[in-house]
Amino acid sequence: MSEQDLPAFALLGFGTDGWGRVLVLGAVLTLALSLASMTIGSVLGALLAWARGSRRGWLARLATAYGVIMRGVPELLVVLLLYFGAPGLMAAVAGLFGLPAPGSPPAFLTGSLAIGLVSAAYQAEVFRGGLLAVPKGQVEAALAAGMGPWLRFRRIVLPQVLHHVLPPLGNVWQFNLKDSALVAITGLAELMRVSLVAAGSTRRPFLFFAAAMVLYLALTSLSSAVFRRIEARGSQWAGRR
């Protein structure tokens, strides 16, 4: 019996003919990829937000330019550039040290880096907004109370920034999750790629793309529920509402 004649439940199931396990593993990889790129984006985004507010003009301008470029260029182009450009770049760096070309970096690394670089530009905006939301008088009051920079950051700035930043960060996360599908073009077996492979080898594209949609919907709605939970916890903790 060819795979084209198998009923949908057998194809999507966890049996020997089923793609269920592969699809679920793909969803797990999508989640891991999104988490990795979100983390990269958070670290770089925080640095960019700090650089934007820096007194060194060139640093602030550099961070602004980064944001304009990354938010004005398609994400797909960034993924493609890293995917095709990384081996050459790595060979060039290795060449500087007189080492042989190391070949292509792992797809997970280039993928999460590409999505993370884009995510950083958006997260920088979010963090900047959060920093601006802390009243200046409070920082001055903390200074007057003799708090050091670390204590000031931990007790006064951070809790308020977190409170302001969580809802828009949830939005960025949703975009991250969906942008991670672009990494499929590098061949990484995340959910989008897996559904393409399954659609191709069984010749049932409608079925497998629909299954992938259901899994993506599960990921996006589950994570938005998690964010809502954290936000509720956060506003309770901040003593508001």
Partner: protein, 242 residues
């Protein structure tokens, strides 16, 4: 020898730039068509969200949930490959359209972005103070007059910044059409790379084109925002936007 190599470089870059610029109408056409489609559909979705019939509201909510919760790339593949595998589509009267990758990309983008635009418009609608609607009712305005004079002008102004962001996102999203063989700016760039193996310069040229497009759009939107700002255009603004 160095001179000749540089000449070849310049020729290659000029040829590539020309090829990429020639693809701009495809990118721009895809953007304009799906922006118009998505805006109309988004408006319809908001109307459906405020409808009296519960099933109509449910369909609109389901539509927004589906298209906002899944990647556009997957939606494009679903329309281009997924629907093509279905008998009714293959044998139906619209098959010539569904066989065209450009149409499929436009259709997927229209559906996807309509969901985002509907959310933007819904937010703007909710931001209009209820007192104004009540005042319009008290003045004896009918449904259409109310919509035309009170609701729509303010919605336009309130929604414009977020709506503009969606439009910029749409310009960038058009690049996904290249994954289903559409030769837009990204598609042509990939084609050139496949022949020349020169990744960085070609992608930078393409990125420059997109930056130009998004930059021009942003400038246009900022101009429109200023035009619609009641504190600038005339003193009669009632400051109801907050």
């Amino acid at each position: 020898m160095g001179g000749a190599a540089m000449n070849a470089d310049v020729t290659f870059l000029a040829d590539t730039a020309l090829a990429i610029v020639r693809a701009v109408p495809v990118t721009l056409g895809l953007f304009v068509a799906s922006a118009i489609g998505a805006s109309l559909l988004g408006g319809g979705l908001v109307a459906a969200l405020t409808a009296g019939l519960a099933p109509v509201r449910g369909i609109a909510r389901g539509w927004i949930f589906l298209f906002r919760g899944t990647p556009l790339l997957l939606q494009i593949f679903m329309v281009y490959y997924g629907l093509a595998a279905l008998g009714p589509v293959r044998q139906g009267p619209f098959w010539p359209a569904f066989r065209d990758p450009l149409f499929c990309a436009g259709l997927a983008m229209t559906c996807c972005c309509s969901a985002y635009i509907a959310e933007v418009l819904r937010g703007a609608l909710a931001a209009i103070p209820a007192g104004q609607i009540e005042a319009a009712l008290a003045c004896g305005m009918g449904r259409v007059t109310r919509l035309r004079l009170i609701v729509l002008p303010q919605m336009l102004r309130l929604a414009l910044p977020a709506y503009g962001n969606e439009l910029v996102m749409m310009v960038k999203s058009t690049s996904l059409a290249s994954t289903i063989t559409v030769l837009d700016v990204t598609g042509v760039a990939q084609q050139v790379i496949a022949h020349s193996y020169r990744t960085l310069d070609v992608f930078c040229l393409a990125a420059g084109v997109y930056l130009g497009l998004t930059g021009a759009l942003t400038a246009l939107l900022r101009w429109a925002e200023r035009r619609l700002d009641p504190t600038v255009s005339d003193g009669a603004g009632e400051g109801a936007s907050r």
